[in-house]
Symmetry: C2
Subunit: 234 residues, 2 copies
DNA sequence: TTATATTGAATGAATATTCAGCAAGTATGT
DNA sequence: ACATACTTGCTGAATATTCATTCAATATAA
């Protein structure tokens, strides 16, 4: 019995190292055995994001994911059912997290369209969302999205709602001050720019989150001089 | 002998259909047998772009490429040496084509920085470069680039030279008129926006090349009002 | 004990790579 | 002109590899 225990102990210890970032939320300690179904799923999703970020989509294997989570080979097919479903769940998770994040930012912002637009832009460059790790995972999915309707729907220019809201806010600002620009064009330009900045951030190049955010702000100020300053909405 | 010939003839005829877009340049007729090494390589590269665009990176197989080129299974390993090398050659080809294209556009533009900047932006949305097919192929590589130094170098924010030129032109314009913006920030914002617009174009969504180009122009005009109009540089 | 989570070896499908051989061209000798 | 040897692009079946999936055995919790 004691032999079995000590072997077990060693095994678990070795695995703990690999688990790393996973399972930050709740039920943290039920490792080794018996974590709730949801916890395990979350743990595997985090490991998937890790692998996508490190190895890219085409090199991500179930073995990587299982190793990264510190679990055995067959585990993914037990909790998800196939690799495909794990990947979809992972993308779903990221999309939900992203939507929740800008939703919350919008809540906190005031009523004014200018405050809301400012908040949306800031949310995109927030530490919580804008991690190299997560950007890389997004990018891995983007690369496959065009040829996979399921991915495309979930990536979907980061949500149709988001895009519509963007247009609405730009239109609102235009109604409040005599800008000559077409609201839809500006919304398109701004959101495309933010996507491009995300991409550059992911690629490295010494671009920082602050600099990227600064570039977006510069744009806001130059297009909506009546509403925006470098320090925030008027 | 006649039997052999007719069989051959049929085989070739069937294959011609699949070859499609490939081999537009020079040596066009040496099909069936004995096309120069370079022609064959080019043909395979075109088939690779096709496959990347249609199936995405992770689903592109050597069988797809060979079928698409109307050639046999072993052909890729004969002309390139491995799948990896085929993909690198393909990316290299696209990068070279892209660089040559904006280089030519720059030549044709006048001496003025404003004309040159205008020309660079226009070049990005030119029919020759900005095809759904090619954008999709680019995107396939982008998705893998972060985890592969070789790809990263070739994608490299579409060339360091390009980026430097961009900054230089923005700085030049700033020197000619009292814009308050930081040249580097504007160059970053503009090039990020163009990448984002490319991405959106590739994803579909009913965005057209003209609309995307229009959004970029809108930005130029709003940031450099002293130099740009919607119709062109002043 | 029973039910459930987990393991890890075995399986099989997909696919990159190899290679022996074939056929179309090319050069050399007669 | 014809025959011969030689080169080279190309083929497709065979092989090797990688990896998702399955499942019988095992460990754990209730």
């Amino acid at each position: 019995m004691s032999v079995v225990l000590s072997l077990k102990g060693k095994k678990v210890a070795v695995r703990m190292k690999a688990v790393s970032a996973a399972v930050q939320a709740g039920e943290s300690d039920k490792r080794g055995r018996k974590a709730s179904k949801e916890t395990r799923r979350q743990q595997l999703i985090e490991a998937t994001i890790d692998s996508l970020a490190k190895r890219g989509y085409s090199e991500t294997t179930l073995a990587d994911v299982a190793d990264g989570a510190g679990l055995s080979r067959g585990i993914v097919n037990f909790h998800f059912e196939s690799k495909e479903k794990l990947l979809i769940a992972t993308l779903q998770f990221m999309a939900d997290e992203y939507a929740a994040h800008w939703g919350a930012a919008l809540e906190k912002a005031g009523e004014a369209a200018s405050s809301q637009l400012w908040a949306l832009v800031a949310a995109d460059f927030d530490r919580k969302i804008c991690t190299k790790r997560k950007l890389a995972a997004w990018c891995a999915f983007w690369g496959e999205a065009k040829s996979r309707p399921t991915y495309q729907a979930l990536c979907g220019a980061r949500d149709v709602k988001y895009q519509d809201l963007f247009v609405a806010l730009c239109a609102q600002l235009k109604a409040e001050a005599p800008y000559t620009y077409d609201a839809e064009t500006i919304a398109l330009a701004l959101s495309a720019m933010m996507e491009g900045l995300w991409f550059r951030l992911m690629m490295g190049d010494g671009l920082t989150r602050e600099k990227a955010h600064g570039a977006a702000i510069e744009y806001l100020v130059s297009v909506f001089p009546g509403h925006m300053t470098h320090q925030g909405p008027k």
